[in-house]
Homo-oligomer: 689 residues x 2
Amino acid sequence: MPDFTDDLKPSYDGTAILQAERDRSSISVHELSKHLLSRDGFLERQNRIVPILENEPLFNKRQQLNLSRPERYHLGLARAKALRRLVKKHGWDHEDHKMAEYLTDEMSPYHLHMSMFSTTVKEQGSEEQKKYWWPKIESYKMVGAYAQTEMGHGSNVQGLECQAKYDVKSKEFVIHSPYLTASKWWNGTLGRTATHAIVVAQLLLPDAGNNGAFLSQGPHPFIVQIRDMKTHMPLDGIVVGDIGPKYGYTSMDNGYMLFNNYRVPHDALLSRYAKVDPTTGTFRKEGHPAVVYGSLTNVRATIVMHARLVLARAVTISVRYTSIRRQFKDRDAPNDTAPEMAVLDYPTVQVRILPLLATTFALHYTGEAMYNLYNDTRASIDKGDFSSIAELHSLSSGLKSLCTTYAANGIETCRRAMGGHGFGGGSGLIGINNDYLSKPTVEGDNWMITQQVAAYLIKKMTSAVKDTSNAAEDPTDELFKLYLSDRDRKSSADIICDGEIANGAILEAFRWRAADLSYQAYHARVVQKKKWNSLLIQLHKLSNAYSEMILVQNFAKALQLSRLSPATAITMTHLFQLFSLHTIDADARSFTTTNAVTSSSLDALPNLILMLMAEKIRPHAVKLVDCWALPDYILDSALGRYDGKVYEDLYDRAHRRNPLNRTTFNVDWESDEIVLGSGDGGRHLLAKL
Amino acid sequence: MPDFTDDLKPSYDGTAILQAERDRSSISVHELSKHLLSRDGFLERQNRIVPILENEPLFNKRQQLNLSRPERYHLGLARAKALRRLVKKHGWDHEDHKMAEYLTDEMSPYHLHMSMFSTTVKEQGSEEQKKYWWPKIESYKMVGAYAQTEMGHGSNVQGLECQAKYDVKSKEFVIHSPYLTASKWWNGTLGRTATHAIVVAQLLLPDAGNNGAFLSQGPHPFIVQIRDMKTHMPLDGIVVGDIGPKYGYTSMDNGYMLFNNYRVPHDALLSRYAKVDPTTGTFRKEGHPAVVYGSLTNVRATIVMHARLVLARAVTISVRYTSIRRQFKDRDAPNDTAPEMAVLDYPTVQVRILPLLATTFALHYTGEAMYNLYNDTRASIDKGDFSSIAELHSLSSGLKSLCTTYAANGIETCRRAMGGHGFGGGSGLIGINNDYLSKPTVEGDNWMITQQVAAYLIKKMTSAVKDTSNAAEDPTDELFKLYLSDRDRKSSADIICDGEIANGAILEAFRWRAADLSYQAYHARVVQKKKWNSLLIQLHKLSNAYSEMILVQNFAKALQLSRLSPATAITMTHLFQLFSLHTIDADARSFTTTNAVTSSSLDALPNLILMLMAEKIRPHAVKLVDCWALPDYILDSALGRYDGKVYEDLYDRAHRRNPLNRTTFNVDWESDEIVLGSGDGGRHLLAKL
């Protein structure tokens, strides 16, 4: 319905402001986008698939925040199925499908089928098993889930309570949940969607020396049909369902599942590495399951690369919005006619958003390095050489922890920097925030897995201390030996000399700190023999310090190797400096106590950071976020629109889209009627409570 | 339907674990609860009202997370109305009503009527206006909203764009929204509920010396009817509605509103302090509106007290759950039969949760002090003495900023410390987190309002520098004069001597740091004449440092005065120490650069904090959260239940309550049917998109 607001304009023009921001920077968005997003044809793929999804009514996002959680699953399933049909229609490959899922920006109820279910069959199934299952998996004739985590155990996989006891007589495994806490829990795709599941259970085999008793061989994966293929009802002896509402993942049916002495055939055990003799029930390991760690590393590289795009979304939205948004005049402005300032021109806003902008690039180059390292290592693994896997896996734990923490915290930092509108649906951050908050926990809790890095570094330091030769077996070894040779040095790095930033000294400072903290941890654990648990906080800090070093090193190295045009390259160097100096400033004390940076340099940091932000990064901020090439379709944000029509879009969402505005209410408290004229005294509500 | 899971038990007993935790501590929960929660009969009131709400079907929270956002408003309105009827039925007073709203744990659509609308009429209406409006307000015959913030301006109230132009001829104000950004925005109760609103608009009056021109007298409040009392439809010339989904406040109808030359009578202007001559249109100020700042201070004391209860909820849930939850054996345990450890026994979990437990008490004592200070000041205000308001208001800005940041961040810290289950609806934190994330922005943005504290401290330091007399006019003045008399001291505080914590030295360190940072800010702004905006980050840190000092001082003072039994008192002292030392450790560098604490003390901090947590606080943690007396009704948390039945409750939510499990789906991607057997190819979804 037309009304007097139809022709109203905002009092200033966001489109013109963003255009002016773009005009004043010499960065080439095209060049930098290509530089950042060419791997596996990402950019081309995105450009191709966005318009297809935008044209499918089922994939419009206009009302998503107004749906109930059950409706969100309905929608998620409808979209998952429609995507499969689009795969067929457009002849998409697996990467295309993944791109479409990414753009849809919600977790597909098919997700676990596409990922952990199929990966596990591929990696842990015998040749025979793969031959049987693969065609069914590929055709989506079945839908698989991955049921490992239980109500009582997540991180501690060895503590899983679900049992698979081998019955020699019938040659079957009997899967059983002896406790409520043995219930499978959290497992995606399991709740309402899956027909099959990988069930990870304690493999219990007859104890040859002890008649009637059983011995556990630890947790192993079984492939199990859980629902009838026609009625989709759970099979007898299985209770399975969706666990209910969560912070995020509304479209995903995270599930629970319990078994009551449920029998599966001998070949349900995925037996590439673990074999049970059908007749005797004796156990035999075969091959080297370490290859699985290899693929976990790849998963973690993907997590880092995903973190950078998630963070880039929050940064894109907040940079665009705070460039447009005006609030308050400069307190020191000479006269009363001064215009209000752009919010991004306040240092208190810059210091929250711009270091995160720099972080997107830091994550990018380390993600790239992880992919490259994994591919190099993969070649060795394929040749049967697993020696580098331990290092790769340990280091990737620290990076997973640090990078997902950056992104999870960064979304909220960006949101708060946007003031009131940041809290509204028009921010475009609600969904991504709710979903992403899972990341610090899943795939290894961010506080727990840092122990793996620390344990690895303590081991390396122990050998470096013992080994007096000069030959270094890898970069960590080299770092530690250099450190040990110079441990009593009195000097620390002058990262700022006469107001100039010394990039080489920055690297040196991060390296020294990481080595020194490694030595301290080694000394506490190996020399002083302190209890592991008493060192956990120290070890967590060590892991972060080491991972920060990796981020800074990879950033610097990539800039050395890149062939960016001079104007772009100099800004990238400033981003490197901002990321590094801000990281040092945020943990200045650890750079002092490790004697890594001079006190005068630390004192100079705050002003240098202010200068870098205001003079070197701020003028290019809008173009730097443009480089991440995030389409409006995925941003789904009034505040972050490419064209700057912030207020027009906010108004559209409120005035034209909001279904609540179509109902008129009875606000008289003496009446129990809710919708005016309905005569319904809240019955429609009570029925749902 | 009964099934084999009905009789399953968790593999360990949460009830027994919590009982054992309670048995091993000598803290008197009864004593401490009374100590914390007696103001205004809080505890008695809570105990009386909880059972009433628990018995009302409309107030059960079992399905809240499964409702859509529009349904949440329906429910919110139904509850708001039902609460009014309960007020009548039980003869509740205003505090009872507020308690019931607090327990309901969602923002009532009536909320602004009860708060800002009625307060503004009371404080800014003339005697005549109050006489006319008050009976209508009290009886809820009308529902009022408070429409100040606009799409384009929130913090900068002077920049509001909505106009009220006085028409001398008709003796009416013409309210008009010249731009889209002039739209009222965010205003609670306005979207669907309100019949009336306070509209804050630029008061434009005829410019006597300039025929036909108007001059703005700045923003003023008008009381305006916006909807028809029978049809509840917006009146002609007004567009009003709900702005749509947000992070939180799902039950609240935050609104937008625009005016098209909408005429209101002369007496719509609330005229206690601002009068417009009806005939000439000339403006006259009357009285001292500073009293309004006084009530803002009271609002801020309430915010601090609310922050402590919000944080106490997150801490209660996480302490109970991590006391029960087991994961991993001790890595240094002598043998394989060691039990898994309680998660709260890991230092990496303690360091996240226990300082926040200490923070709840720190916030409490400062909230109490603010109430007391306000009441003392109130007496002066009532006598017409406004001299202390500036100080009170400035300091309350810093505390609002710091305390709401603590609570907002603390909820998420507690959630992450709970691992996977923290992400589920059973955490009980989803609603409170989503709602509370607004607090760092509303009632003064947390980064912006710290300027008020800093400006005040710079002013005070400037006079302290100039004034060479020894007489101090208030505590800040006293602090600054002491500091100035000793500014060149070489020593700093030894807060730890021979492993003992020196409480007096802790206070001294916080005081010295605050004074030194105040001096630095004074020097930069007043002596070096640096631009205000270039100092914003420094000023923000100053405000936080000063507010931390206030928290630490009030905590220490309250413990000195309290008559707690010895066992409880000693633990409270340990909580004071944990809060203080953790705060110092988290910003150790600022205690170094201000020369406030010795380097050896700072080095000793981490181990002392570990010791305090593990030995002094951990044994009492469960009882210390029990003291906050948060009923299960408000926690609404499986993880945080008083009786420890974590897993039973999680399972109940999933298996018995989740409506999604009542639907069976068609997961075959080649079919577009969603619900199995319905034949509906997603039409039910598309209609909602």
